[in-house]
């Protein structure tokens, strides 16, 4: 099984985990993207939303599980076919929530282009934006190295 290990800088990443954990709590209660099938039978709709919410919670737990004791000992996180998909989805969910809760001040056009002056941001926004970029980097790494594993699963 293909596996990738990434060594991260603990002093840089550890402060970002607080932001991720705060947002992860909210993702246990609300979907990152509002449910769009409004005309479904109400019972069916409720069942689907509950299923989506449970899956979203599982994905976020897989993301948080990367930052275990091993990570705090040597700064290493690892991906393989067993956690690549949930981590990818969780990164997307947290990034969507970061945009909604913390990065609205930047504007969508700037956020989409990532052409932003980090030094000009206040500390809270800067931390949230660094987290946003960090999660994107994780996604890029997984897609670059485990794309075939994901497609075959």
């Amino acid at each position: 099984m293909k596996r990738i290990e990434v060594k991260l800088s603990l002093p840089v990443v550890a402060p970002l985990l607080d932001v991720i954990k705060q947002l992860a709590d909210g993702l246990g209660k609300d979907l990152a993207v509002p449910f769009s099938l409004g005309d479904l039978d109400p019972d069916f709709r409720d069942a689907w939303m509950a299923e989506l919410l449970a899956a979203q919670g599982d994905d976020v737990r897989a993301l948080l599980a990367l930052f275990d004791d091993e990570f705090f000992a040597d700064g290493v996180i690892a991906f393989d076919a067993s956690n690549a998909e949930p981590v990818l989805r969780a990164c997307s969910a947290v990034r969507l929530r970061l945009r909604e809760k913390c990065l609205g001040v930047l504007g969508d056009d700037a956020l989409e282009s990532s052409d932003l002056d980090i030094e000009a941001m206040d500390e809270q926004v800067r931390k949230a934006f660094m987290c946003y970029l960090f999660l994107a980097t994780i996604q890029e790494l997984i897609i670059q190295h485990l794309d075939s594993s994901i497609l075959e699963s």
Binding site: V33, S36, D39, R89, A93, L151
Partner: protein, 99 residues
């Protein structure tokens, strides 16, 4: 009291049946958050698109704000929207007026 149509269905049930029959489009809408590479990967994974087709749809979403990624019966269209929602893409269903 609901009126009945000539086929014996109450009016409200008939309307519901019409709304869920026919051909529907799965439309993916743009968002400023998800990475292009992520959207391409999801299209390949969910719809079995090859790389060029997945990239073409992703660029359509990015540049035009939306892309019709699948057309067919309502039940399967709903399942695709559900799966896209699991991947946190914004997708909606539209009736396909051409059918």
């Amino acid at each position: 009291m609901a009126h009945e149509d000539p086929h014996g269905l109450p009016e409200s049930e008939s309307a519901t049946a019409l709304a869920t029959e026919g051909v529907w489009r799965v439309v993916v809408l743009n968002d400023p958050v998800n990475l292009m590479s992520y959207v391409v990967m999801v299209f390949k994974k969910v719809f079995g698109f090859d790389e060029p087709k997945a990239r073409r749809h992703m660029l359509e979403v990015h540049e035009q704000g939306r892309s019709v990624v699948w057309v067919g019966l309502r039940e399967k269209a709903e399942a695709y929207v559900f799966t896209l929602q699991q991947w946190h893409l914004t997708a909606v269903l539209e009736p396909d007026e051409a059918h």
